[in-house]
């Protein structure tokens, strides 16, 4: 039996507190024992423009955004226009009946909840700013939730701002009571958010999980220049640095961000930078600098649609081939792509470990859907993680060969200030780092560096994951945040499975070839124009996946969209 997923949508104008009230509600649902997946759409503006937060709530698993709406909170007229076609049969629409919002275009099956939101907010004395809180109270009342859980959440958030707290608590209570008193019959038809006990769950987005992972991995230095969608990482690291005793620095540009991080890493600090595709354009020279000087570095690349400024606040998977090919000539790069915020957490920790082990840049590709959308997940387990700096030593050796040619391609590493002499040299160099243009030396150093990839394949390359029945009639191939909607959609089918690819370089060629060869029917889904993963698969395996579903409009794949794609293919 598929899980029932209830889809609440809060829509209005930017500045009406859509995101904050949505987050509060999703915490409320999680604490009440449900799982949630948030999907947030907004334009690249601070004030004005349409904001919408979809909160998908379920007793079971919920992993992706939905096309439909079961309960719409419409804080302005535009919200009705934009979302009326997404309303499911018998959906609830909450709006302010005293305002000029017109609801006559809504389908007849809609259950209207007219509430004097503005009037109630003014009565409490909080003006317009309290409207979203009154609305939250109404929704909680309709769902017969435990109002004390919701109020406790608001208390935690505003315990140091007693005036706001008092008004918010009242607003929720008034909204809650209004629903209970005025919609007695309709309440019975609404989704029930009644408390049931479950293991506690975290509710956070990928920016949060990536930042927490960096701290758990022992991050010491991070320089990041602001760019959507990785600004959440900046806010987190800037805040975390005091208690966790590391340095976060916002530099003048992305070139400085990566080069500063490389400098700190050269000096011995575990370092990370983060950016989006546009910033990564500037970082490409630093990317190769870390490669040739064999300086460990973690780079988070949060994708958004381009080129240039593109669609700043929307989703994309258009940077895969860029990250795999950026910079002149060649160096060993480790590139992995997370499928959700939990993978982002564990992969970021892995990235720090691998950067030190292989002394080379490691890129974690994320997309906006992962970075900016909250999900409820089990508490992360870091008990197995050990800080391992690889072949780093602070012992003195009079003849230290920092770039010693070794079988595994990894040389002993040391840092300035411990007595050892070496040169981290962006020129081709010999084993100590002296500039050297001789044929034999060039070949030895280039081979040594590139050999790291072979060592990695032998020791560390994981097998790709297949979700669903191994002998399926249809295999979906994809990567990145599409994982959520795909795994949720295939749970409704017995005969469809999903090949989720996370390791982009080195590529798990052998395993992927085996899996693709035994698959009966293949379809690949990506959020980019050319099918970049399909190109990569063809490059490595020779297998050409003809059936491609490509989206480059900034929107994610919705669960229902995937179900339609599956149904069409199973028919033929």
């Amino acid at each position: 039996m598929p899980n029932k997923v209830y889809k609440l949508k809060i829509a209005g104008q930017a500045g009406q507190g859509i995101k904050s009230s949505g987050l509060t509600f999703s915490r409320f649902a999680t604490r009440s024992g449900f799982n949630i997946y948030n999907y947030f759409e907004y334009p690249s503006l601070i004030r004005g423009g349409h904001n919408v937060m979809q909160i998908n709530i379920s007793d079971g698993e919920v992993r992706g955004p939905s096309r439909f709406t079961d309960f719409l909170v419409a804080l302005n007229q535009e919200s009705i226009h934009k979302h009326k076609n997404t309303l499911s049969e018998g959906a609830f629409v909450l709006y302010d009946g005293d305002s000029r919002i017109k609801v006559d275009t809504l389908p007849p099956s809609v259950k209207l909840l007219s509430v004097p939101l503005s009037k109630m907010a003014h009565e409490i004395g909080g003006q317009e700013i309290l409207i979203n809180m009154v609305a939250l109270g109404v929704v909680a009342g309709m769902m017969q939730g435990d109002i004390s859980v919701l109020q406790a959440l608001v208390e935690e958030e505003y315990h140091d701002k007693p005036e706001i707290l008092k008004a918010d608590i009242l607003a929720i209570e008034h909204g809650f009571n209004y629903a209970q008193n005025n919609f007695k019959d309709l309440i019975l038809e609404c989704f029930k958010l009644q408390n049931h006990k479950k293991e506690p769950r975290l509710i956070l987005n990928g920016s949060d999980s990536t930042s927490l992972a960096a701290v758990a991995s022992g991050i010491q230095f991070s320089a990041i220049y602001p760019m959507s969608p990785i600004t959440g990482i900046i806010s987190n690291l800037a805040k975390f640095q005091t208690d966790s005793k590391f340095i976060f620095k916002q530099p003048e540009d992305e070139i400085a961000a990566i080069v500063m991080s490389i400098g700190a890493s050269f000096a011995g600090a575990r370092s990370m930078t983060a950016t989006s595709g546009g910033g990564f354009c500037l970082m490409t020279e630093g990317y190769g600098l870390a490669g040739i000087t064999e300086t460990p570095l973690v780079i988070i690349e949060g994708m958004r649609p381009g080129p240039a400024t593109g669609l700043p606040t929307w989703n994309s998977q258009g940077d895969l081939l860029f990250v795999l090919n950026a910079h002149q000539d060649e160096f060993p790069r480790l590139v992995l792509a997370a499928g959700d915020l939990t993978e982002a957490f564990y992969m970021t920790m892995e990235a720090f470990y691998l950067a030190d082990k292989y002394q080379t840049p490691v890129v974690v590709l994320l997309d906006k859907n992962i970075l900016e959308h909250e999900q409820s997940v089990p508490i992360f387990d870091i008990s197995a993680y050990r800080i391992d700096r690889g072949k780093m030593t602070t012992d003195f050796s009079p003849d230290f060969k920092r770039f010693l040619v070794t079988e595994d391609g990894v040389s002993p590493r040391t840092i300035p200030g411990v007595g050892n002499f070496f040169i981290a040299n962006s020129d081709e160099h010999d084993e100590k780092g002296f500039s050297n243009e001789e044929i034999e030396n060039r070949n030895n150093q280039m081979n040594k560096r590139m050999r790291k990839l072979q060592t990695f394949i032998k020791n560390d390359l994981p097998k790709p994951t297949i979700y669903g029945n191994e002998n399926a009639d249809l295999t979906i191939v994809s990567w990145g945040s599409n994982k959520g909607s795909i795994t949720q959609a295939i749970s409704e089918f017995q005969n469809v499975n999903y090949l989720h690819l996370t390791w982009m370089n080195p590529f798990p060629t052998e395993e992927v070839t085996k899996i693709l060869n035994r698959s009966k029917k293949l379809v690949i889904l990506e959020c980019n124009y050319s099918g970049q993963l399909a190109i990569l698969i063809k490059q490595h395996t020779g297998i050409d996946i003809i059936d491609k579903i490509l989206k480059f409009d900034g929107r994610p794949f919705f669960v229902e969209e995937i179900s339609d794609i599956i149904n069409e293919r199973l028919k033929n």
């Binding site: 604490r31 340095i247 400085a256 962006s426």
Partner: protein, 282 residues
């Protein structure tokens, strides 16, 4: 270690101004016991950058234009290190111009040696951002149409807290200024006038010997307005040398009070207990 020699011999042109800059630095290093337990060199790309190969101090020769962010990262990670930046006029003010302004205003605790030969030498003689207006170079055969940056004025305006100029061939004075610049807590830059025998036929040894003079003893380097005034002087018999400007101001590094005065790399990485942080997301 005593003479900081490596097996590699300098590959600069005969008569290159880099020789005496290198010598002055090594003199200062030996006098002050700068060695591999306390010092590191960051270099840009250009003729100056070759110096890392001939100087037995652990170094990072990075990307053209980027030695300042590289050095900033090193210093932030380990405040125990004496961090010297070797850069050229093209390196520092062409591709590196943006970094220069910001590193100066942040007052990183760095000593910057600006090898100022007034053009791009390693690429065989094109105009740099410091090349005078009208000067003919390979990239400006009819005369440079651009106006030059004045590095001293730029440094003071950007917030540098120690600004000096030296003539590279005056080894004694340059050695002293390097030591003073390094003693200074904050962003210290020395504009080092460096003749390029091969490509710069105007700013020659002879030209500098004829036209430099030392700021008088009574000059007060804490007066910013005066410093701007004197930094604008340049021309026949009018090229002042010495310390133009000094200001005491907290360095960026000193403001990370949460590190309890320890170098960042001395703080243990293990953060096994993350429960408090995770619990904030429940």
């Amino acid at each position: 270690m005593a003479d900081l020699a490596t097996p590699i011999m300098p590959n600069w042109c005969p008569g290159c101004g880099n020789f005496t800059i290198w010598l002055s630095f090594k003199n200062a290093a030996i006098e002050n016991s700068w060695d591999n337990t306390n010092t590191t060199i960051i270099a840009g790309i250009g003729c100056h950058g070759h110096l890392v190969n001939f100087t037995k101090l652990t170094s990072f020769e990075g990307l053209h234009g980027r030695p300042l962010p590289l050095a900033s990262g090193v210093k932030l990670a380990n405040t125990r290190l004496n961090v010297f930046v070797f850069t050229g006029d093209g390196d520092c003010f062409g591709e590196g111009g943006n970094h220069f302004i910001h590193a100066a205003r942040r007052n990183h605790d760095l000593t910057i040696m600006l090898h100022d030969n007034g053009l791009y030498a390693l690429t065989t003689g094109q105009a740099s951002p410091l090349t005078e207006h009208g000067v003919k170079t390979k990239s400006t055969p009819t005369g440079n149409p651009d106006n030059p940056i004045n590095p001293l004025v730029m440094a003071i305006a950007s917030g540098a807290t120690f600004v000096a100029r030296a003539y590279g061939s005056d080894v004694k004075q340059l050695t002293e200024i390097i030591k003073k610049a390094n003693e200074h807590k904050g962003f210290a830059i020395i504009d080092i006038l460096q003749p390029c025998e091969t490509y710069n036929k105007i700013l020659t040894h002879q030209f500098y010997q004829d036209n430099v003079y030392y700021l008088e003893d009574s000059y007060d380097p804490t007066d910013k307005v005066k410093a701007f005034e004197r930094a604008h002087e340049f021309g026949e018999k009018k090229i002042p040398l010495g310390i133009f400007y000094i200001e005491e101001k907290p360095t960026l590094e000193s403001q990370y009070t949460h590190l309890e005065n320890k170098p960042l790399i001395d703080i243990p990485l293990d953060r096994k207990n993350m429960d408090n942080m995770f619990n904030k997301y429940l």
